[in-house]
């Protein structure tokens, strides 16, 4: 009897190109992994640019990096790591078919994600106040090489901006998952969207784990 109920839950979500629910889940998961690989190649290009220019202009990049607030960056890192944790808990809840738990953990993840974006907005505003935004009013104290300093900040804004864009998309995805969860769409038999949504969220988190030390922690020492 339970099997029939499960089968019913499956077939409701089964798309016509697939033969079984398992095939659909496998295909969706593989699809998300491949998409994430393309994202790695995309961000990878930017990371490559950053690496090349950091090597070429190391002293100025170190100086520019030290003007970033590493404490705030570290707090943001912790925020994102926690959000990945709550996301994992949401996926776990979905695997166990616990509708209310899914909703709670998705909301927590969303709150943490928005918090991250809020902190980022604060940081960017600070950079704007300090005239560290590339453009006609740019100036970084402590060096004559303003061109190189501008390059650092261009890469900073491009990379954190691209990351933030992915976060915004991720938040949108979380909202959609929330809406569907409230409708009771996810059960222990069918929770693929939560699963692959989790994959995406973790990926965006990992990108930040690389961005933070690369951008904020060049040549830093404790107590500096």
């Amino acid at each position: 009897m339970a099997n029939q109920a499960h089968a019913h839950a499956e077939t409701l979500a089964l798309r016509e190109q697939f033969d079984t629910a398992e095939q659909q889940k496998d295909a969706s998961t593989l699809g998300m992994w491949i998409f994430l690989i393309t994202e790695i190649m995309f961000f990878g290009g930017m990371f490559l640019m950053y690496t090349v220019y950091r090597d070429t202009y190391f002293p100025v990049f170190a100086l520019a990096s030290s003007s970033l607030n590493a404490v705030i960056g570290a707090i943001n890192t912790a925020v994102l790591l926690c959000s990945s944790f709550t996301m994992v808990l949401a996926v776990r809840a979905a695997q166990l078919g616990q509708r209310n738990a899914i909703i709670i953990f998705l909301i927590l993840t969303l709150i943490l994600g928005i918090a991250f974006l809020g902190v980022k907005a604060y940081e960017w505003n600070e950079k704007f106040q300090e005239h560290h935004v590339p453009g006609p009013t740019f100036h970084l104290e402590g060096t004559g090489e303003q061109g190189q300093a501008q390059l650092f900040f261009s890469l900073y804004f491009a990379m954190t901006g691209l990351h933030a864009l992915h976060m915004v998309v991720g938040c949108g995805m979380l909202i959609w998952l929330l809406v569907e969860s409230r409708k009771g769409r996810f059960t222990a038999e069918y929770m693929t969207p939560v699963d692959i949504g989790g994959l995406y969220w973790h990926f965006v988190d990992i990108i930040w784990i690389f961005l933070f030390p690369l951008l904020y922690l060049i040549d830093r020492h404790l107590g500096k």
């Binding site: 070429t56 002293p59 004559g144 090489e145």
Partner: protein
Amino acid sequence: MKFPLFPEQASNFAPETDHLLYFLLAVSVFFTVLIFGAIFYLAIRYRRRSDRELPRVLHTPMVVEVLWTVLPFGLTMIMFGWGASIFFHQSKPPDNALQIYVVGKQWMWKMQHMEGQREINELHVPVGRPIRLTMTSEDVIHSFFVPAFRTKEDVVPGRYSTSWWTPTKTGKYHLFCAEYCGTNHSRMIGWIYVMEPQEYQNWLSGGRAFGSLSENGEKLFQDLACGNCHKADGSGRCPNLVGLFGRNVQLADGRTIRADEGYIRESILQPNAKIVAGYQPLMPTFQGLVTEEGVLQLVEYIKSLGRQPGTPAEVSPNPPAPKQ
């Protein structure tokens, strides 16, 4: 109407390049004839005679696959080695090469001989001497291409690139820009004039009035007050430039690099890129205060510092008169 089907050979690299070409052509013709012939023969010999025909399935003998993988691979390795050796040869200008500077800009070529002679879109050189070109661009990427010499090298803004060859035949040869550079890319062309050595001397002496590159560089050195810091006795706040060219330099970050033309250029335009060990980053940049041609003059002047009188850094085309 006369039209050529093959370019002249006018440099030391032309025969080398053409010999490799002939080898590649032979291999290509062989395989083309083989494949075209095989298809032609097999298609006719085994043409379908009835609609109900069903050929027997043949099993792939591994040895055939291995053979037609390994044999072509062997041929390609020969091609690689041969091509690489020509390329390597092209990357090593001889020490006694005659140095000439080239600046490319939209849409002309500016040549500077060390003795001061300047040319636009034309380059006069003596036959039989290796010629080394040090080149840069003032704007976008260009490429210095002389088909008769079989040589080509991109000319890139922000750095020096090098091309060398020995002209082997007197005459007049096309010079083309070979990297698309905007509206008049196809008009950024000129001529290389290869002359008998004596004629070249005669031509060269017409350029004395300009002053040699090195003399112009000295004047610029004084105008820009470089000597205020770079004192000849080494007592200034900045490194001594006498004998610098060709020497190894210890940098503040621990690296050791060789002071070539590119290093000198970079030191003038981006002085903080490499700080010499034991010195402060005090030097201002001269970007915008000196043109690429000015930089070339300064480079030549600095090269000339510290050379023993009578023994030039490279053999000049006009060796000093034998002592009486």
